[in-house]
Amino acid sequence: MTDNPIFLADTGAATINVALLMSALLFVIGLVGFLSRRNMILMFLCTELMFQAAALAMIAFGKVHGDLSGQVFVIFILTVAAAEAALALGLVVLLYRRRETLDSEAWSELREA
């Protein structure tokens, strides 16, 4: 890691900061997408985006402390994301069969009031 070629040169704190900024932005965009998309599949895709942001933040902070626990946690994030994708997509397909639409507002009667 120390003898990187020049284009991968360790730019130190700036890299960490850009990574943290990127993670915050990805999380927020994922959240905005989750709130504003109507397509149920895309809503779940936006949660995947938020998972990515969390993973990136963990790896960036792990790099700061020289600790690999952040990277190990990303493995768990990947596991949960895979499980979530399998279950959520199964559910979405079921819902789609019921209403013949992917619009999440077709199910708005499930909410209270």
């Binding site: 730019t11 397509n39 979405v92």
Partner: protein, 364 residues
Amino acid sequence: MEIALPPTQLLAEAIASPAAIALTSACAIGAAGLALLMQPGKKGLRIAGTVIALAGFAMLLVEVIKRASTGDDGATTAIPPVFPVIFSFIALAGAVRMVTHPKPVFAALYFILVVIATAGMFLLLGAEFMAFSLIIVYAGAILITYMFVLMLAQQSPVAGVGDAWYDRVPREAVSAVVVGFVILATLSDAYFSERTQTQLADARANGESAAIERSWERLEGMPKLLLETARTAHEDQWRAAQREVAAGTTAATMPEIVSIEQKADRSALRRIEGGVSVTATLADGSTISVAIPDALRPDNSRQVGVDLVSKFPAGLEIAGVVLLMALFGAVILARKQIELGEDERRGLAGMRRITVDGEAGGMR
């Protein structure tokens, strides 16, 4: 350690400082651009949104990079972080397109772009193993599942109708962006405030040496790899010595290391300058001391593997259980799909049908 300030004082500090204002206004500009980008069907607005969002992003980047240099006594900022900026730009553009694109399949493809850019960022942060497993698992497996379901559940395009209306029209775009802005401003203030930046710089100051220290500790737990590493280091040094003595005069064979000596407390490594040294036994029974330079420490994937099984065994088991349960759940959900005719049965029995008739939209 920092002494925690009372929240009112923190708030006052956050509001009053000009740096915080710069950061927050950059967030606001980016958010305004995103809100404009989400307006469907108006090309002019979308172009303006792109420009404004880019401006906000650039302001954020400049601000953030500037802060890195203040916390870091300016030594490492000679090289601008070109690749991080490129990767974060790609990821951001992909994410915004994913959130705003009217075609779901394209949104999923843009997500792959985000995954690849994130993986590039992981590489820059020295997480090689996670970078490639991210691409394999996300771009390879999860996204393919999404594409499958998108194509399964996609309404067949009717001529003249185009994309489904619920993909074109966002729901409450402005309030969603406002929520996003609040969270982004809070997060960026938390990450890039002077207090945090100093803490990060402090942690970074001994982060690198801590990483090297830990990698040697892990190597100590892997006797076979330790032997291999010692052999490699020994061979390198031996070759270098041969070259120095005389070119081509000796055809001596290199003495093979057969074992590494361990002390009573099972430790084999001694720290020396720029690496570690071990005491190795050669084939003829003599012992030598072999210096292993830092460059030969175990690579990222080995270290992550060791950490995974040695520090988080319970987490590993739970991950297995989660995957197994997801498997069961998916099977049960898939079995349910067989009972399809429920709606028709309701219709026959004279009850209200659940399904909303009509296509491309299902207005309630």
